[in-house]
């Protein structure tokens, strides 16, 4: 109950910030007022949704986890064939006046499904079959989403790795992925031979320091080295042949924002200008010139953090970061106190998804992450995402509220 109250206040205190974008664009009254108005409707429906989600028997989420999953997969498939392309992606389902993005709802459905599956397997005695099913469950929606050309939303599913890690996945996967990311970026920044030399030195150094243990694993160490070197050379191929041109640009821009100042770099540069001009205390509510005058594209959706940064300054940004941290910590806390594997896994999934959105979205506005079109949870304009995050949170809340009834198992 405490959690319910806390989270309600939390959601309520956050959501009103989203319409501020609407106010900010006063001169485009018709258009923006409409967005702002729509967002209020979305918030209203989200509140109704909350009530429903909490009132529904918590067991339903467990019971119908696969059902939800199946529905979403079907929706994704349907979207793929029915949707009209909007801004290059076929990810929107149009139902009369409203447009929905099934990819948003895939998150909670997948989270429920994997949690359900996770609860059913013996983690001590993991077998390949279980792991394969889990991987399949996790990868099916993002593959469908990628097919609809909405890579950003698909990347979100990578966040499940954090939840799996908590549930026993080998940390090696996280480490390897992080290392791969670092090597990829380094490979773009530093001449290859230097990089290979440096990696050889570092790996060699680690090997020698831990030689007592490591000498039994020489072949392993050598193969790691070989893989890394292969990666370094593979980066170019990956970069030029696998990535689509706009994705390649986004990574280039991350490394050097002036590479494409009027194209992809424009977003990042203008976003940094908007945030950077906020100063310590910000320009004040509705006083942000950069966001008010549309210098930042997509400012009410993906680049919503610019408004915060410009109008409320560093202090405001800090408050937002702290609030997100509080939410994430609270989610971890709530997840940990669940007695069921299902509840706990689901809690971690929610926390991971929120974290991924937060990290990538804020990161891209301040030039620390590539531009990926995903919204800032509870902030960005957009009904699908607001609903999606509301569902994610309140299913967790519902599960948490009845956790004591779970004693009988």
């Amino acid at each position: 109950m405490v959690g319910l109250g806390w989270l309600s206040v939390y959601a309520a205190s956050y959501s009103p910030d989203a319409p501020s974008v609407g106010f900010a664009g006063q001169s485009f009254q018709e258009l923006m007022a409409f967005n702002w108005f729509k967002q209020i409707i979305w918030i209203g429906t989200a509140v109704v949704l909350m009530v429903i989600l909490v009132v529904v028997d918590y067991k339903a989420y467990d019971t119908f986890a696969y059902g939800f999953y199946a529905i979403v997969v079907v929706l994704l498939l349907v979207t793929l064939f029915v949707a009209r392309p909007i801004a290059g992606s076929r990810s929107w389902l149009e139902l009369g006046p409203v447009r929905l993005q099934p990819a948003e709802f895939a998150k909670f459905a997948t989270a429920l499904a994997v949690s359900r599956y996770m609860a059913g397997i013996n983690l001590r005695h993991q077998n390949w079959r279980d792991q394969a099913v889990l991987a399949g469950l996790t990868l099916l929606p993002p593959l469908l989403i990628i097919a609809s050309n909405e890579t950003g939303q698909a990347l979100v599913f990578g966040a499940f790795l954090l939840a799996y890690f908590r549930e026993g996945m080998s940390p090696l996967i996280l480490i390897v992925l992080a290392a791969a990311g670092i090597i990829l970026i380094l490979a773009l920044l530093i001449p290859k031979l230097w990089l290979i030399g440096g990696i050889t030195l570092i790996l060699g150094g680690i090997f020698l320091v831990n030689s007592r243990v490591m000498r039994h694993h020489l072949p392993l160490a050598l193969s790691v080295w070989a893989v890394v070197v292969g990666m370094v050379f593979g980066v170019d191929f990956f970069f030029n042949n696998v990535l689509q041109p706009h994705q390649r640009k986004r990574i280039e821009v991350l490394i050097n924002p002036s590479a494409d100042p009027l194209g992809v770099g424009w977003n990042v540069t203008q976003s940094k200008i908007a945030i950077g001009s906020g100063g310590l205390m910000g320009k004040g509510f509705l006083e942000g010139t950069q966001t008010k005058f549309d210098f930042v594209p997509e400012q009410s959706t993906d680049f919503i953090f610019c408004t915060v940064g410009e109008e409320w300054g560093w202090m405001g940004s800090l408050v937002v970061i702290i609030l997100f941290m509080a939410l994430l910590m609270r989610l971890v806390y709530v997840a940990e106190r669940q007695k069921s594997v299902f509840g706990r896994t689901y809690g971690y999934c929610v926390a991971s998804i929120f974290f991924f959105h937060f990290a990538v979205n804020v990161g891209m506005t301040i030039g620390l992450a590539p531009v990926v079109g995903i919204p800032l949870p509870l902030f960005s304009y957009g009904g699908s995402s607001l609903w999606s995050f509301t569902i994610l949170l309140f299913i967790m809340l519902a599960i948490d509220a009845y956790r004591k009834q779970d004693l009988v198992r």
Binding site: A119, I175, N210, G279, F358
Partner: protein
Amino acid sequence: MGWATCLIDRLDSEPLCCVPLQTQIVGWGAFYPVSFALQYLEGRKYVIQTIFVVVALLFAARLFYIQVLDGSYKLAADRNTLQRIVQVPYRGLVYDRNGQLMVQNTPVYDLMVIPREVKQLDTAYFCQLLQLPIEEFRLAMTAAKNYSRVKASPLIQNLSTPELAAIQDNLIDFPGFSIKAHMARSYKTENLAHALGYVGAITPKLLESPKYAKYIAGDNLGITGLESFYEKVLMGQRGVQYRMVNVRGIEKGAFRGGEFDTLSVAGLDLHTSIDSELQAYGELLMANKRGSIVALDPKTGEILAFVSAPYFEPARLSGKGMGNRYMDLLNNPERPLFNRPLMATYPPGSVFKLVNELVALQMGVVTPYTSFPCNQRLVKCTHRHEAPTNVGIAIKQSCNPYFYQVMRTTIMRGRSSNPKEDARLGLAEWRRQVMSFGLGQQLGVDLGSERKGSIPSPELYDKMYGRHGWNFRTIYSLSIGQGEIGITGLQMANIMATIANRGYYYTPHFVRGIGQSGPLPEYQQRHHTNIVPQHFDAIIPGMQAVVDGRGGTGNLASLAQFGISVAGKTGTVQNAHGPDHATFAAFAPAEDPQIAIAVFIENAGFGGTSAAPMASLMIEKYLRRKVERTQWETWLQGDASKFIKKKH
């Protein structure tokens, strides 16, 4: 119950292990805590929380850097949104001495287009309204699109009145098009183009000069004439507004409520001393001739009329097609752009005898009663008259031998036993006296590009003939205003004003009032010549006799029938390039001079027959406000047409 819930939640019941993994060295050594954590999964929440906190701290630090430490983003933000808009004030107007408006500002209309907003344009109808070929329209539209799709750019500049009327009524049918008004010079007078000058766009070269730092490309400024001389007061003070603009450069209101904005201040009006009617009359008289008329008010130095012929209408250098018309004027063989009263220097001819006489009187080498024989062996005398001559007769008859001898006594003072050195000393002294009339130097009129003219110095002749290579016989032409002497029409008129004032002049000027205040201080100052006033009394009766005396060379200028006594002097200037130039300089009324005038007509023969009647008509017009002796107008025009035929 589903199969998921039948499992016992084992992991929570295992011993808690809270080893903070983030403190472990990452590397192969990390395998130990990792295998540890595999057994005690509860501990992994710290790993996850650490990841969250690290990212949050990273963001906070990055934000602190770009928001608080790095100021460049704030500058970039201002560059993004702030636009400086200069408000160009109304340019000052120009009035004549009777308060009649001569130069004003009128709105000129440009048809602007915002290409993106143009919708469902009936191109054929649109072009038909504007009488515009469709190809031209397409070209202009393409140019506008290339400039910007969302910003307004001119499609057609300087719409004519019928075009404006046609399009303005139908503008509602053409979204994306608008009319923009800006101010251009327009003229209520057809005269005085040479003094008024014109206004044009600032050139890139001028823009680079720090003097024009306040101007931006596309600004107008006075290029010549009064427009240029009084540019500073005419232009007024520009206002600056800081506007905020959005990403497309579209205005979004004042910056900080207009705190830093300044208002524009309209330019000051110029009240000139020109008499519009007299000016128009002068230009009428000079039609089809080449030369100049300058009329001054001797009491103030104010310029009453300033005719440079051939002339053109000032409106030709304003508005649509101005560039082409300027080139036409520039390439015209008659050189209408040449500002003759200021820039054409001629030998003054016989008019200059007055100055020589005054100098001689001042130096005491002659008296009003000194007589010289009309010795035709010295220099030819063109007039029959009684001899020997005194100053009165000499002026009346323009007796060359008399003035030859006056000049000789002025130059040859016997201050050196070497006659050549004596001539040098004498010429230097003579030059000093002559220069006190404002000759051989810029008078300082309020127009640019005034010529100095030339009053020869001994050094000039030294250069020509070698030191002591010349004597009085070499330079005697100076005695009758010929030879190496050059003065402008303005200077000639100023000599008349000086004589009328009996020894002083005010620098001639056009503007006698700037806004609410008077003329520039330099025009309120008397300049005294070296000649004492009583010497003027010796020559003025002779000048009156020129006009009204029996057999005077300037009889045609007489206004005796109206009771006006004109004091004047004719001049016929020998010219190596063709027929003689005719000059006549005068002031009137002799007792209380109100106008001093100098007429110079190129290649018109005797001063007495063409220039003198013209001057007298001008005087009549100015003093009586009307001209009754219209027969002279016809006569002058006939004379002119005769000359023009001969010339071409």
